[in-house]
């Protein structure tokens, strides 16, 4: 700290030498005035001068006396206190480093999560005037089902009705296409979006190259056009401007590239879109029937509100339109309500609660860290009570003493802040890497706002922990230590009472964190052990999509699929293999309304809904789904004979309560096709976190299906089969990309990633809090024991038993812990309700979690208190009495 001292001295010297010269001038002026007066009075020059000097007195003495009135300036004071603080902190280097590290860790967590909250939840979308952008959904009022996808038929009616109050665009943001270019590069499956021609106009986006869609592009009969993203343009076209007008092949068909989007463009919504690399006109890409039905819900709408139109007014207006549609088409699938929210909400509403919870958790940890550091400073203050008292007695002002405490805590917090920014930048890059599934995750950076937040947090932290210790400098009791006799008086009782309150607060916060983390973790573990309905060990899945261009005939598709299965089953290591449209846990996979011809027709507006799957005869054996009744498909049930179906147990129970489903029929309302039920299979889940739904399986070799998931089971090390199997597919069709190659474990991991992330992160913060609270307990108690060494020595000397001393100290330490525990459990009950939406399969007031937390906390508290208590009971009374 030499430089600090030097700076201070130099500053003072500089100021003083200038002031010194000025004083000199001032005094000389006075002298000269006196001489002039003497001259005017008629003295000659020599006399006048002598007389003036005589009356004036000794110049040096006056200068000296004047100088002594100069005091220190506030800058000099500050610098002096700063170097005092640095010196006093560096005297206990270990403690200082620990404090800085603790604050750094807590601040780092806060800064990192704030960076995420700001970039993901708060930052406006990059579009023009983003506050007017909204997303529209359908809803079912009676069933309180919200944010449902919309039907294109309804959309056109809405668009007409909205008129001038909003411009609406229709889109399907989550499509997939097989892309190949003329260069003979490997084919790949890419994410794509299709949208009505005005989509980019609604968002206010202009392509940087070429043009946007125009109304003529957006029809089934128009020439095929595509707009590509900047990343695809760079990756596959080498940023060549000549790409405009060139062709690329999607699903085997040629498309003309008409535009390239700006590099910042990204549409991210609840239904996906963040990974889209191409955009296509929606009417060109969808069947005409799908574009004009009211009961097939595949789409979402975005809109730009006209200035001054509130979104609620638009939703109200469109709901009226939808009610009319419902009146005209009372089918069960037609919905009655229009709802929506802002485009930003659409992108991030799913992450809001978890992020805010994690942010709150980091806030709690920071609070605990501040309490700990504050408590540390209190201990230091207390240890210096005599010094402070003497300084007060000789005239140090209270402000001075306060300022020293604040400067100390400021130094600690600033050090912590620097460490924190480092930790935060590491944490942010880890987070961006881990949560690629999260919308807007790529925009997370530590920018100026985040740095400002960090600075603010440092100041708050310094003030908070400083004020805690300042609070303990009570001006009335400042002199008390001088009045206390040095012996036999245990440290001021009120002060330790204050520290116990701090401890109780710390323990309370820790309990809340632990309970929250425990609930989240238990939910996550529940999710992980959830049974999809099949064993997920050693299962590999991969998807393919047969392009209509080369596989136009149903027979071509069926034959190709059969051939693939034969090839895959022949790969060494493959135990069983099957084909299914959507494997368990891998998504909704589509649903249809059905009716049962054997049953009386349902009342208007009611309907039966099943998830649709298509499978090959061997799939059930490969997946391990038991065929509970009847049989699986037969080899001959393909193409024209593929009108048989298996239903899931759940479907059998819901649709055929007291009858035998075998031999009954199911009609798909949309296509009108009728299937005869030949078997009942076990239930599987479409998503880990969702309950089973009724499911219908039809033969995949037939029904003109072109989409398939290869389901491969092995006895061990199934990942190794990925390459040989892809080679089989590639040998059959070099142009056919295989996508989403993953094990079922990976599928489950992916769908539980959010839960895992939330629970582990909150748990990590909770553990930090626990360690801090334990350290706080230990520190305070150890300090109190030192303070009471004398008293304890007397007690032992007078015959107190060791166990009594142990008991005395232990109870002293455990009281605030138990108090905090009770308060914390009460607080947790309230907090648990807040995080209810993140819980899966457990109640917010889960007794196991609450009990475990209470036990763990008590155990840790007892452990932290035992060491000082033990030490106290081992005191040598002779030495203890000698301690001064």
């Amino acid at each position: 700290m030499r430089w600090l001292h030097k700076l201070r001295t130099q500053l003072a010297t500089l100021r003083r030498s200038r002031a010194g010269t000025q004083l000199d001038t001032e005094l000389r002026f006075h002298l000269d005035q006196q001489i002039e007066e003497n001259l005017a009075a008629g003295m000659n020059a020599g006399e006048a001068r002598r007389a003036a000097i005589h009356t004036f007195g000794h110049l040096g003495t006056i200068q000296e006396e004047t100088r002594s009135t100069w005091s220190w300036t506030s800058v000099e004071f500050f610098l002096r206190d700063l170097s005092l603080g640095v010196r006093s902190l560096s005297r206990s280097l270990g403690l200082t480093c620990t404090a800085i590290l603790v604050i750094g860790l807590a601040l780092g967590g806060n800064i990192a999560i704030f960076a995420v909250v700001r970039s993901v939840l708060l930052k406006p979308l990059p579009f023009h005037d983003p506050s007017r952008l909204i997303v529209l959904y359908e809803a079912k009022q009676k069933e309180q089902a919200v944010n449902l996808p919309i039907a294109a038929g309804s959309f056109w009616d809405w668009q007409r009705a909205a008129g001038k109050s909003a411009e609406l665009a229709l889109l399907d943001p989550s499509k997939k296409y097989d892309l190949s270019t003329k260069g003979g590069e490997l084919p790949e499956k890419i994410d794509a979006g299709s949208a009505s021609w005005n989509f980019f106009h609604v968002l206010g986006v202009q392509p940087v190259l070429g043009r946007g869609f125009s109304p003529p592009d957006d029809s089934l009969s128009a020439p095929a056009t595509v707009i590509i993203t900047d990343s695809l343009w760079r990756r596959r076209f080498n940023s060549d401007p000549a790409v405009i007008g060139s062709e690329l092949s999607l699903n085997g068909r040629p498309y003309a590239v008409i535009g390239v989007l700006p590099s910042w463009f990204k549409y991210e919504g609840r239904m996906g879109g963040g990974r889209n690399q191409i955009w296509l006109p929606i009417q060109h890409e969808s069947a005409a029937s799908l574009m004009h039905t009211y009961d097939e819900h595949e789409f979402v709408a975005v809109g730009r509100l006209a200035p001054g139109v509130p979104e609620s007014a638009l939703f109200h207006q469109l709901t009226a339109v939808q009610r009319q549609i419902k009146a005209a088409h009372p089918g069960p699938a037609v919905r009655d309500t229009v709802m929506g929210h802002s485009l930003l909400d659409d992108a991030v509403s799913d992450y809001r609660t978890p992020l805010l919870i994690i942010f709150a958790a980091t806030g709690c940890v920071l609070l605990i860290a501040c309490l700990n550091v504050g408590s540390l400073l209190v201990a230091r203050t207390a240890a210096r009570r005599k010094e402070l008292a003497i300084r007060t007695a000789v005239g140090a002002r209270r402000m001075r003493l306060l300022r020293e405490r604040l400067i100390e805590s400021f130094l600690l917090s600033t050090g912590g802040g620097l460490v924190g920014v480092f930790i935060a930048s590491g944490a942010v890059s880890w987070l961006v890497h881990t949560r690629q599934d999260m919308n807007r995750v790529d925009g997370i950076h530590i920018d100026a706002t985040v740095v400002a937040f960090a600075a603010g947090a440092v100041v708050l932290c310094a003030l908070f922990s400083g004020l805690i210790s300042v609070w303990s400098i009570n001006s009335k009791s400042l002199l008390a230590p001088l009045q206390e006799s040095s012996r036999g008086n245990s440290g001021g009782h009120s002060r330790s009472g204050q520290r116990r309150t701090l401890l109780a607060a710390e323990v309370g916060l820790t309990v809340i964190l632990l309970v929250g983390a425990g609930l989240l973790l238990k939910s996550y573990l529940r999710l992980r052990i959830t049974d999809l309905g099949i064993s997920s060990d050693n299962v590999l899945t991969m998807q393919f999509n047969l392009p209509d261009v080369r596989y136009g005939e149903p027979a071509q598709k069926a034959e190709f699929m059969e051939e693939i299965l034969r090839g895959v089953r022949a790969v060494p290591g493959v135990e069983k293999a099957g084909l299914i449209t959507t494997a368990p846990g891998q998504g909704w996979g589509g649903d249809f309304l059905i009716s049962i011809p054997e049953h009386p027709p349902l009342p208007a507006g009611a309907g039966l809904d099943v998830l649709i799957r298509a499978a090959d005869p061997g799939y059930f054996a490969a997946a391990g789904i038991p065929v509970l009744r009847g049989r699986t498909f037969e080899a001959g049930e393909r193409l024209d004979h593929a009108d048989v179906a298996l239903i899931s147990q759940n479907a059998a129970n819901s649709f055929f309560r007291d009858e035998d489903p075998l031999g009954k029929h199911i009609r798909l309302d949309y296509t009108g096709k009728v299937y005869r039920i030949v078997g009942v299979a076990g239930d599987t889940r479409w998503s880990v976190s969702q309950p089973e739904k009724p499911m219908l399986y039809m033969p995949i070799f037939g029904n003109d299906l072109r989409f398939g998931t290869l389901f491969v089971r092995s006895s061990r090390n199934v990942e190794a089969l990925s390459v040989p199997i892809q080679r089989v597919v590639n040998a059959m069709d070099r142009e056919l990309p295989v996508s989403n190659v993953e094990t079922l474990h990976e599928t489950i991991g992916r769908s539980t990633l959010g839960s895992q992330f939330n629970s582990l992160l909150v748990m990590a913060f909770a553990v930090i809090a626990l360690v801090l609270a334990a350290a706080g307990l230990y520190g305070v108690l150890a300090y109190l024991v030192t303070q009471r060494t004398n008293e304890l020595g007397v007690r032992i000397a007078l015959g107190a038993r060791r166990t009594q001393i142990l008991h005395l100290v232990l109870v002293d330490g455990l009281r605030p812990a138990v108090l905090g525990l009770v308060a914390g459990l009460a607080g947790s009950a309230a907090v648990a309700k807040l995080i209810r939406s993140l819980l899966y399969g457990i109640q917010p007031w889960d007794a196991t979690v609450f009990l475990t937390v209470a036990t763990v906390l008590l155990a840790v508290a007892v452990f932290a208190c035992t060491i000082p208590a033990w030490r106290a009971s081992k005191l040598d009374p002779l030495q203890a009495l000698r301690v001064e």
Partner: protein, 109 residues
């Protein structure tokens, strides 16, 4: 006239503030003014004047500015601050109370 009367401890501050109440002055002028008004009874020693001025400046009751005097020389002019004005009022009131009390004792006792 005998030896010039020494100023009562603490009254110099009051005199300086009073002298500056109407206009800013430099040190010499302050001393002269006190001398004149008191009919040469009060002689301000330079050895007390300048430390007092600098102390008052530190306390924020007066501020100083370098400016030219009537003959064009640079001199340090002191001026009363608003805090100084308040201080002057307090000290004046104190002085009046004190002096009338002393008068009472001297005359009645």
């Amino acid at each position: 006239m005998g030896k010039p009367t020494d100023l009562v401890q603490g009254t110099l501050d009051l005199l300086i503030l009073r002298t500056l109440a109407n206009e800013p002055r430099h040190g010499w002028a302050i001393a002269k003014r006190i001398q004149q008004i008191s009919n040469e009874v009060l002689q301000v020693q330079q050895g007390s004047l300048y430390p007092a001025l600098h102390r008052l400046e530190q306390q924020g009751w007066i501020t100083a500015k370098w400016a030219e005097n009537e003959t064009g020389r640079q001199a340090k002019f002191y001026r009363l601050t608003s805090g100084g004005r308040k201080q002057l009022e307090n000290e004046t009131a104190n002085w009046k109370r004190l002096s009338s009390a002393i008068n009472l004792v001297v005359e009645e006792g």
